[in-house]
């Protein structure tokens, strides 16, 4: 067994750390306050190759492995969760469906600009009435004269409405299966499609600098060829995409925890009470030790899931463990981080207050804690 990172993995980790600490950290507070999407950071990340990190070079990617990808997301999330999710959702949800299921022509048309980071793309699964129950898709698409006519609504879609968003891939009911269940298919809907519109950005508690919108389709028309993957495989394919996505959101949770820990350690050493640094109180020391030991567990689990994926093994259960555990660790860590900061932690200008707000979504997005437990229970044959 070998826990060492390869030279490339180490180099990618230190590159992203350097970039995130120098370019992202100083901006995080203001971006959060203004709900400002960081176009310039996305451009820089694209130049560095982060937006296409795990995709092959022939499709505009950097050809790095999943372990490197997880390390990169951790370092971004450590600096700022909004920037982290923008990159992670772009890679895992926006671009990956094209990589896994696209025809050669679709890969060339969509995956290349996505991997190069010149365009962002939404992953439209959730609907107002279909979240955890993702199969309850109400959006419908009918094939008429070589065109899909789409009607319906998608909720909470990340990266769907920025100035550089090229469109979204959605699940839609395209008919009925012989046994009566709906046939769900993935459709590619470019941004300029007539009848397709995006709401204003949601006002959010966290991830405020990320772009999340509602999508609405009113007789929106796309060509018949805009099917991604096999007709009728839409839900299954999207759930497979989410299996991989779990690794990146787990990495994001670990990153957020690392950021909160960094801030707490620094603050504990600086802050004086009762004539000494609060880091000299065992109660504070124990908090820091517990935080770090849980982060270490979570990080190992995320890297294990990433490694399993790189080895071509079945990683779904480890990824669910990692997502669930890292999300819950992040809750405990940000909670203690604010506690260590005392009243200052409740103040807007201390990064831990932002991290506290950014944390909650870790337990909701890409499958809630409850849903992770359900998925794992099912894998256990329960």
């Amino acid at each position: 067994m070998n826990f060492d990172l390869s030279d490339e993995q180490k180099a990618i980790q230190s590159l992203v750390r350097e970039f995130a600490q120098a370019e992202v950290v100083p901006r995080a507070e203001e971006m959060d306050r203004q709900e400002a999407f960081p176009y310039d950071l996305v451009k820089q990340m694209a130049e560095l190759g982060l937006m296409g990190l795990p995709f092959p070079e022939e499709y505009g990617g950097a050809g790095a492995d999943t372990v490197s990808y997880a390390l990169a997301v951790m370092e971004l999330g450590r600096a700022d969760a909004s920037t982290g999710i923008t990159m992670a959702a772009h890679v895992s949800l926006g671009a990956t469906p094209f990589y896994l299921y696209g025809t050669k022509a679709q890969k060339e048309k969509y995956l290349i600009p996505l991997a190069q980071g010149s365009m962002l793309w939404g992953f439209g699964l959730t609907e107002p009435g279909a979240g955890s129950d993702a199969a309850n898709v109400q959006t419908k698409a009918q094939l008429r004269e070589g065109k899909w006519i789409i009607n319906g609504t998608k909720a909470f879609i990340t990266n769907s409405g920025t100035d550089i968003s090229g469109g979204s891939t959605i699940t839609a009911v395209t008919g009925a299966r012989p046994e009566g269940k709906p046939e769900i298919t993935n459709l590619i809907v470019p941004q300029d499609t007539h009848g397709f519109s995006r709401s204003r950005k949601y006002k959010k508690m966290g991830w405020r600098a990320s772009d999340t919108r509602e999508l609405s389709f009113v007789d929106a028309e796309v060509p018949e060829e805009n099917v991604l993957g096999a007709r009728g495989k839409g839900l299954q394919n999207f759930l497979t995409v989410l299996d991989g996505g779990r690794i990146s959101v787990a990495a994001l949770s670990v990153g957020l925890s690392m950021g909160a820990y960094d801030e707490s350690l620094k603050y504990a050493k600086e802050r004086q009470a009762f004539g000494k640094s609060i880091s000299k109180f065992q109660a504070i020391q124990f908090k820091l030790v517990d935080m770090l030991s849980e982060i270490e567990h979570a990080k190992n689990m995320v890297l294990k899931a990433a490694w399993e994926k790189d080895q071509g093994r079945d990683f779904a259960m480890t990824a669910s463990f990692a997502k669930l555990y890292s999300a819950e660790v992040s809750r405990r860590v940000v909670n203690e981080a604010v506690q260590i900061h005392g009243g200052y932690g409740f103040m807007d200008e201390y990064p831990v207050s932002r991290m506290y707000r950014d944390q909650k979504i870790n337990e909701i997005g890409e499958g809630t804690n409850e849903v992770q437990r359900m998925i794992i229970a099912k894998m256990l044959g329960l």
């Binding site: 490339e8 180099a11 990618i12 590159l15 970039f19 560095l48 990190l53 950097a62 050809g63």
Partner: protein, 262 residues
Amino acid sequence: MKIVVTVKLVPDTNAVKRIDPATKRLVRTGVETVINPFDEYAIEAALALKEKLGGDTTVTIFTMAAESGKEVVRKALAMGADDAVMLSDAGLEGSDVWASAYAMAQALKKIGFDLIICGALAEDGNTGGLPNALSEYLGVPALTNARHIEISDAKVKAQRETDSGYQVVTGALPMLMTVTMAVGEPRYASLKGIMGAKRKTTAVMALSELGLEKAVGTGGAKTEVVEIAARPARGKARVEEAADGPAGAKIIFDFLKERKLL
């Protein structure tokens, strides 16, 4: 055109440095090794020239360092340099500026170059003396402290930074140059660069390949470290009381003025 950038591998600039009292040398074990920060600017200058000149311009990284520094050299390759050469030999231990420059000059002659770009100063040794010694041994002019470089038809035109502004200096290749931080912020390595770095070569040279005529290492050093002393402890800070903000500002202003900092 062949550009060679000299890069020194130094202990992490944020780490606390320790001198071994017995050998009077910097302790390099247990501390992370990084590219000398000034040399990142030299790399940036070289890569910017390569981009501007295009064609067959190449950038080679050259370092005199232990072979264990290979991984650090790789970062320079990931930034975009084409290849690297390391001069690594236990016989170099104890070389001072003089001996280091002699050994490096012989290696650089072997590598070949049109332009050598050095950093202005190494964070650890801190003499700033090496580039000039190198130019002497190589018999090429040294254009120091360049902040802006233009090259056409083997002619160099550079802005040379001075205390009060800059001079415009011209010269012909081959030459050696040192650059200041004003040449441009060093770029980040890119993911593609990192992934591609493993396909680039880092050659390792030993002293035996150089046909040296002078001694290097401790035997070739002209200087000897006789004594090492810790920096004197800082005196107590001066505390001033001000009646109000403007009065405080005035005190700070006068203080800076007195020291000719304003």
